[in-house]
């Protein structure tokens, strides 16, 4: 199908984008990579009156490792992050997740900010951000604020972003020699949204793990921390962690799979990812 008519404006700067967003009817939408938004417009699932193009706005597409953190601009494209030496070194969890996102042509346009702002419950990057305990920089007409990933994902396609907000960057702690990460997902075909997936981060401490953070995707309305399983895994008990998932997750049936199958897969994912976390880094 073709989209309903809308107006199009290229934002000249971040301030210009914020100014354009502030319409009384709230009918403006930011256009980043367009890899989710254009599809919903073509299907007429949404019909905003104005699209504000962030492509070309300066200052939103940098990747910088500094002060023990990695800051990634919202308009960094998936492909740009895949090729970044800083991401490979300081954000290895994101590097593991990126190849699972759609296909090469999607990753050539899609942005990290767009993926996180869109907050598809089966998307990889929101779960990575949650597993890493990252934070998000948001700019709006009332100024700038920073929100923790734990407080960002509110519900199905619902985040802490208001209708007049622009996500400008995400920030995650830079990986150190103690950092351990793990990632696995089940998808019907390569590049499809996951049926269920798990992004995980921990610190090596002695022979075991501490600060374990497990973020599941595809098993709820948002990415979900499995806190009971985290505690069991920190105690070194993988099968105990799998059992503890019963108290953490309650996946519902969706178009891809039944809730019961997702629940089973969550356990399989945990065993695989636990192994990755426990393997020493070279």
């Amino acid at each position: 199908m073709k989209p309903a008519p809308f107006a199009y404006a290229k934002a000249r700067s971040l301030d210009h984008a914020i100014e354009l967003l502030a319409r009384p009817d709230g009918e403006a939408r930011l256009l980043a990579g367009g890899q989710s938004l254009m599809a919903t417009l073509n299907m007429r699932l949404s019909a905003p009156k104005l699209l504000i193009d962030l492509n070309g706005v300066k200052g939103l597409d940098g990747i910088a490792a500094k002060d023990g953190a990695v800051e990634i601009g919202a308009m960094v494209r998936h492909v740009q992050a895949e090729r970044s030496a800083d991401i490979a070194r300081y954000a290895p969890l994101i590097a593991l997740a990126l190849p699972h996102i759609g296909h090469a042509a999607i990753r050539n346009r899609g942005t990290l900010g767009g993926s996180i702002a869109f907050a598809d419950p089966a998307a990889e990057l929101p779960a990575c951000l949650l597993a890493l305990g990252g934070e998000l920089d948001i700019a709006g007409h009332k100024g700038k604020r920073t929100v923790k990933a734990d407080d960002f994902f509110k519900g199905l396609f619902e985040t802490a972003l208001g209708p007049n907000d622009v996500l400008t960057a995400i920030r995650i702690p830079a990986a150190t020699t103690e950092t351990r990460v793990g990632f696995a997902e089940f998808a019907r075909r390569h590049g499809d949204y996951a049926i269920a997936g798990l992004a995980a981060c921990a610190k090596a401490s002695g022979a075991g793990l501490s600060d374990v953070r497990l973020a599941y995707f595809g098993v709820g309305n948002t990415p979900i921390r499995a806190k009971n399983a985290e505690a069991a895994l920190a105690g070194g008990d993988i099968e105990g962690a799998v059992k503890a998932l019963g108290g953490d997750l309650d996946p519902q049936d969706d178009v891809q799979s039944t809730g019961a199958a997702k629940k089973h897969l969550a356990g399989v994912l945990l065993r695989r990812v636990a192994k990755q976390l426990m393997e020493a880094r070279p």
Binding site: P5, A39, D53, P99, A105
Partner: protein, 162 residues
């Protein structure tokens, strides 16, 4: 409301074009309907099938998920330009030789996508080839012959036999 329009100037297959387009017009519709470049096809119109694949500023993208208005100042290349220029003559020949196309609907997108992978150099594994074309649907061939053709060209370009 009267449809908002934009004046755009871009290069398409090396030629400069200036047109007025409706804001909501996708790049692939612009190429097909305004420039009569019908080699890029329209399948699903939501990013899934890859029939609309074109190159914008050197990167392979979905023509149905970009607006023509976004391409002001851009360098757009379609299958017409890329095949006329000879860049993929070997790939086209290999597709024909190995029956890697039947109806041909997916072929322009398949060729551009394969060329992007091959341009990276080396001989990618069959698994890597499959992964790279995973966003391009073919309803005829079953993919095996397409993977064969891409692999053969990769080897030939790397100086091997086959």
């Amino acid at each position: 409301m009267s449809a908002p329009t934009h004046q755009i100037t871009l290069t398409v297959n090396g030629e400069t074009v200036s047109e007025t387009v409706e804001a909501r017009k996708t790049l692939v519709d612009f190429l097909r309907e305004d420039l009569f470049l019908t080699g890029s096809h329209v399948g699903c119109e939501h990013g899934v099938c890859g029939a609309c694949t074109v190159r914008v500023d050197g990167a392979v993208v979905r023509g149905c998920l970009m607006l023509a208005a976004q391409c002001d100042g851009a360098r757009v290349e379609t299958i017409e330009g890329v095949s006329d220029g000879g860049e993929i003559a070997d790939l086209q020949a290999a597709f024909e030789k190995r029956n890697a196309l039947q109806c041909g609907f997916c072929t322009p997108g398949m060729l551009l996508t394969a060329q992007e992978l091959l341009a990276g150099g080396g001989v990618p594994s069959r698994e890597k080839i499959r992964e790279h074309i995973s966003g391009n649907y073919c309803r005829c061939t079953g993919y095996q012959a397409i993977v064969d053709a891409i692999e053969a060209v990769a080897m030939a370009r790397a100086g091997g036999e086959k």
